[in-house]
Amino acid sequence: MTVALLIEYIIKSVLILAVMTAGFAYVTYYERKTLARMQSRIGPNRAGPWGIFQPVADGVKLIFKEELIPKDADKLLFLLAPVITVIPALIITAVVPWGREITLFGRQIHLYLADVNIAVLYLSAIASISVYGIVLAGWSSNNKYAMMGGLRSTAQMISYELTLGLSLVSVTLLAGSMSLVDIVETQGAHGFLGWIVWNLQQPLGFILFMIAGLAETNRAPFDLPEAEHELTAGYHTEYSGMKFAMFYMAEYIKIIAVSMIAATLFLGGYLGPFLDQLPWLGPIYLFIKTVIVIFLFIWIRATWPRFRYDRLMAFGWKVMLPLGFLNMLIAGIITVLRGG
């Protein structure tokens, strides 16, 4: 490994962290604006033109808030929990490719941090870690509402992770590879028509992935861990200031991550017209697709009411899981028939 390669990796890593953190700030703005318009309001419009500095103002406010630690809290875990939650959210997109190759300063640069051959496994592994952060946050706060929120969250995330995993398995089966670069290239192998065929092979896949993704990110209608009127604020009841901001950050970064992964697995990732002539378009296509998927998240939040807890569990185990198996079966049959 040459020094130049090392520098390239460092630059890419910093870029991912920066994009995800800045993305977090502007996803909150995007969500507030879109939600406001869906409710016939205007939304934040005071800080800067059209309120574009609203995330900055929110951040400054949170920094100056008092940091409270409950008297009987487990201090170490209480401080560690937000970190455990936010780190997986930040690093999960490391395997998501943003484009093909570009030439910069006479170097061939791949537009991805790592083309791991077990990328899909990496995704599900990292996604599971953030559950620890949430359950530890709930437990270490020494607060019954936080505890309940943490428990609910754990049960919910573990239940829906199965479905998430199954929809990932069917994608892997069809692409014949666990590398996200290969999955994207398989979708684009036969042009736009090939992409439509790709999604016709797994009609359930995208829907299952989106529903499981909503549950994984604790978004409405699956936002039970933080059901305000039942659990005050759920697992982050006792958190304030920057520690709360980190949970908030983790939640929104996970939305970006799930949207990016959905765009990569089902919507063709960085693929789009004129990509061969202009490889710079790759990240732009991925960005547009991610924004569309995030819009879907916000749209669903603005519309559907929250599930009841027992129904959430029943839905997860009795509907989502069998459908996930069915989807996997379809993918398997197609793969066998194709002779793959």
């Binding site: 879109t34 406001a36 318009r37 869906m38 409710q39 016939s40 309001r41 205007i42 749209w299 669903i300 603005a302 519309t303 559907w304």
Partner: protein, 168 residues
Amino acid sequence: MFIIELLKGLWVVLRTMFEKPVTYQYPEVKRPVRPRFKGRHNLHRYDNGLEKCIGCSLCAAACPSDAIFVESAENTDEQRYSPGERYASTYEINMLRCIFCGYCEDACPTEAIVLGDNYELSFYERRQAIYTKEMLIMPVPPGGKPTPQKVEPGKFNRSIPVMENPAD
């Protein structure tokens, strides 16, 4: 089928997104108040500048939350504030206690206290919530003179004016 209902819901939300927002940009654009809106009180004056309030304390008696405090003093023809014998030397309303019921307005025999349309009553300290006579009284109308006035004797003996039925 509940899925159709769910999709209908999504469609309604998406349609709403392209409607005009109903927001009033508050500090710049204010919603007009209704004609009978009950906001901050005003102490009115006659056209010649004399105060309508005669310091009778009926408003304080009518007030259900005991927000009004009135102290009255004697009028003389040398120093005349209002028609009749007495005027309010102190008139205070505690805006933290006031519930804007308008009973003071109903009780007033001279239509001196009228609830206006100012609803922007906010303060940093509790003491600032007490609105004094200087804050509540209307400015002297054009052609009138400020109080106390020096008037010719025997002209302003009657403290209750002749009143008509309210138009509104």
